[in-house]
């Protein structure tokens, strides 16, 4: 079982969230600016600056860099630098506390609504919807109008206005988590609902709360400034970036610095917080961390050290693979996934590629036409020849022209490979039109004919069905129809029956077998199931750790395996009719640690 386990002792070498954040230059810049500002405003009481509220009418509207007033004075002769620092202090404090309050109540509502579901969810979320129905600033204005102007009231107003944003975000995540198995498991461990929400679900939504907060703080500071600008937030003489802007507005032409300086400050604060916030989101969001933002190249990057020529045996084969090597780039160099494997599939033959998870069988399948996502995938050596022509020496567009026409793929779960918003007929027709110059009607007629080929009853009517209206077996038949659309010579089927029930699996295998014989297809069948291999494959290659350990005729490999790994693997497959003798047989096997 050494083949199937990643040693637990091997710690993941992924960069930490902090390293990721600091690698992002913009986010790091945002972080340092905001950190410097925070230090500055926290230290405001001990800095050698004037009292921000001291009025000196004799020295009013002094320009920038005047003596004793680095940034000049405003219309009442108050030092702008002092007011700027104290004002930023107020703005930052209000923005942060408003977003903490909004995050707390919003997340609480979201968690409870998402976990409780049903009626409670409905009532709470409709309440949130009502809050959202009012224009943002109008609602804040209305709240301040009721409570009266003042900094604290502005803070409440902004917090309330932002609660729906958190509530909806967190509810969405919670709904998904509430039905996960670990939540059920916690219930069976005797945990109460409150304890489940706080100790099981909250730790999982916390990153989302942090992300949402980091992206809203800047917006909240702007809103505070907006309300103060209108005279509803900070009241004179208290300094606040918004009120400074408001006071300077009337002097825009005579003394532009009075309003431009706080304006620039608002810009710097919000900009750096947003840059930092985006960085935090990118670092914490697991989907983005996995590289979802990377746009993969049209063809896997090919960087071959050696280009093994197709061997004599491979000549004339429909598909011939020679010393193929594929790896994944990481910060520690390229990790090999497929380590130099060779095989050939003749016309009309079915080769089974069998292995356990992590053996590299799917990467092999995707490498054949350069479909491994790149970055991080890279083909580091070997060659793949289809009808004697080396695929990796071709131009990108030529490789793309092979996909779906000469070589077609069938994937494991047709529900994820079919588009949910198009009818299956349209999708099969699209596969036809991708490689053939035919009219829409002809393509549709061909699609119906293909659906008939894969034994879908009443194909003309079923063509108008959406994927979710079909059963799993029928969806896989549609997947096969799409693969057949352009009369391919080679079909690569990656675990095509794994998601199906046994009775349906048997039907699909029969269909594939019949199609193969009718059309003389070369079939590369990837699976982990020896039973399926026995049903359909002529020859089988056993993969382990990115290498082929044994190849041969199916009956030979299954009946008389030579390699110890194959022997052990086959011994681990229970057979019908064996009964309890199976477990006794397992006990006889030599022990292997680490499973």
């Amino acid at each position: 079982m050494s083949a199937t386990t990643t040693p637990a002792s091997q710690k993941s070498r992924r960069p930490t969230a902090w390293q990721l954040l600091m690698n992002n230059r913009l986010a790091a810049a945002g972080f340092y600016i905001i950190a410097a500002l925070v230090v500055l405003v926290v230290a405001a009481p001990i800095l050698p600056i004037d009292n921000p509220d001291t009025i000196d009418l004799a020295g009013r509207l002094q320009p920038i860099l005047s003596d004793g007033h680095l940034l000049g004075t405003d219309h009442l002769g108050r030092d702008i630098l002092a007011r700027l620092i104290w004002g930023s202090r107020v703005s930052l404090a209000v923005g942060l506390s408003a977003s903490l309050i909004a995050a707390f109540f919003g997340s609480l509502i979201g968690l409870v609504a998402g976990y409780a579901g049903g009626r409670a969810d409905n009532i709470m979320m409709r309440g949130i919807d009502m809050l959202m129905a009012f224009p943002y600033i109008l609602l804040a204005l209305a709240i301040v109008a009721v409570l009266g102007p003042g900094l604290m009231n502005a803070l409440y107003a902004i917090a309330v206005v932002n609660i729906p944003f958190f509530a909806r975000n967190i509810r969405g995540i919670t709904v998904g988590l509430a039905h996960r198995e670990f939540v059920d498991a916690a219930r069976l461990s005797g945990k109460s609902h409150t304890s489940i929400v706080l100790t099981e679900i909250l730790p999982n939504v916390l990153p989302i709360i942090v992300i949402t907060m980091s992206t809203t703080v800047g917006w909240m500071i702007l809103e505070t400034a907006g309300l103060s600008f209108l005279g509803l937030g900070a009241q004179p003489p208290q300094a606040d970036l918004g009120s400074m802007l408001g006071e300077g507005r009337s002097l825009l032409f005579t003394a532009p610095s009075v309003s431009i300086i706080p304006g620039v400050m608002v810009f710097i604060i919000v900009m750096s917080i947003n840059l930092l916030g985006d960085g935090v989101r990118d670092a914490l969001d697991p989907r983005l961390r996995a590289g979802a933002l990377n746009r993969p190249l049209p063809v896997t990057r090919i960087d071959r050290a050696d280009r093994s020529e197709t061997s004599a045996a491979g000549k004339g084969a429909a598909l011939s693979v020679e010393n193929l090597q594929t790896g994944f780039e990481s910060t520690q160099g390229t990790m090999p996934a497929v380590k130099g494997i060779s095989f050939a599939v003749q016309k009309g033959e079915c080769l089974g590629l069998i292995g356990e998870s992590g053996s590299g069988k799917s990467v092999t399948a995707l490498s054949l036409l350069g479909l491994v996502a790149s970055p991080p995938g890279v083909i580091t050596g070997g060659s793949v020849a289809i009808d004697g022509r080396d695929i990796f020496s071709m131009h990108d567009t030529e490789i793309a022209s092979y996909r779906g026409s000469r070589v077609a793929y069938i994937f494991q779960d047709p529900l994820t490979t079919l588009h949910p918003l198009f009818t299956v007929g349209e999708q099969v027709a699209e596969a036809v039109r991708a490689h053939q110059q035919v009219s829409r009607n002809e393509a549709h007629a061909k699609a119906v004919a293909l659906l008939d080929t894969v034994r879908i009853p009443d194909p003309a009517k079923r063509a108008a069905a959406y994927p979710h209206e079909l059963s799993g077996g029928q969806r896989q038949r549609v997947g096969i129809a799409m693969a057949l659309a352009n009369d391919p010579d080679i079909i690569i089927a990656d675990e095509p029956t794994t998601a199906l029930d046994v009775t349906v699996q048997a039907e699909i295998l029969r269909l594939l077998q019949a199609l193969r014989q009718e059309r003389g297809l070369a079939l590369l069948f990837i699976t982990h199931d020896f039973g399926v291999v026995a049903e359909i494959c002529d020859r089988v290659a056993v993969m382990r750790h990115g290498e082929i350990v044994e190849t041969g005729k199916t009956a030979d490999i299954l009946g008389n395996p030579q390699h110890p790994y194959t022997q052990r693997l086959i011994a681990c497959v229970p057979r019908l009719g064996q009964g309890k003798a199976f477990l006794e047989g397992l006990r006889q096997l030599p022990k292997v640690e680490g499973v």
Partner: protein, 275 residues
Amino acid sequence: MMHEPNAIAVTGLTKTFGGKRRLFGGTSHVVHAVKNVTLALRQGETLAIVGESGSGKSTLARMVVGLETPTSGQMQIAGKDAGTLAKEGPRAFGQMIQYVFQDPTSSLNPRKTIGATLEAPLRLLKGFDPARRRTRMKELLDAVQMPADTLERYPHEFSGGQAQRIAIARALAAAPRIMVLDEPVSALDVSVQAQVLLLLEDLKTEFDLSYLFISHDLAVVESVCDRVAVMYFGEVVEEGPAEALFKSPRHDYTKRLISSAPLLETGRASKQNMP
């Protein structure tokens, strides 16, 4: 046999989803997930429930452990009425019967250490003090053949087979007499599956457990189970001792199920002989 009550006895159990009145008139779509099922799991035996996806076998299992409430019907766990047990609170349920999920990695909270996950049932269901919890956790890990440093690790550091061992350890923590195993090996590679099956068999003898074993894999079922019940569209269509049922299935669906199972020894002699 008669002196000990059945581990699980369900009579006329039915579960219907949907059918509720909507806010704006009409009723939602009704799904009959489980229809009038009567079954008994004897103390110390392994009863398998086989069937296809959507046949209601998981819903049945979830009702038995109290994760779903039956629409109608009777359930007795170790001789006690499930309704009465449910009133005593989820803890009473958890001490009697535990559940092992299909997907081991998603049944462990990704953000909690294994120690924190294993501790919950010991603290809440058994009421152990911290020192006793610590020793018991070590014993449990021993029982499922995992190293003691497992406790400080997080779920993503383990392979599927290891995670399933941990999930089994958690189920054992409450020292239940009955375990419901919902496809416990179908997400695992064959070699790992074999190891977990052996482990389950050993634990059964060691802790005197009764298993309700849900699976779609007939060969696996045959190797571990005493009796088999076949479910089809929410109903039990056939039930009997494993050996007899596989040898001479009576119901059409069971026959189809058995003939569809891929066999290693189909030989495919005819094919090999072709030029």
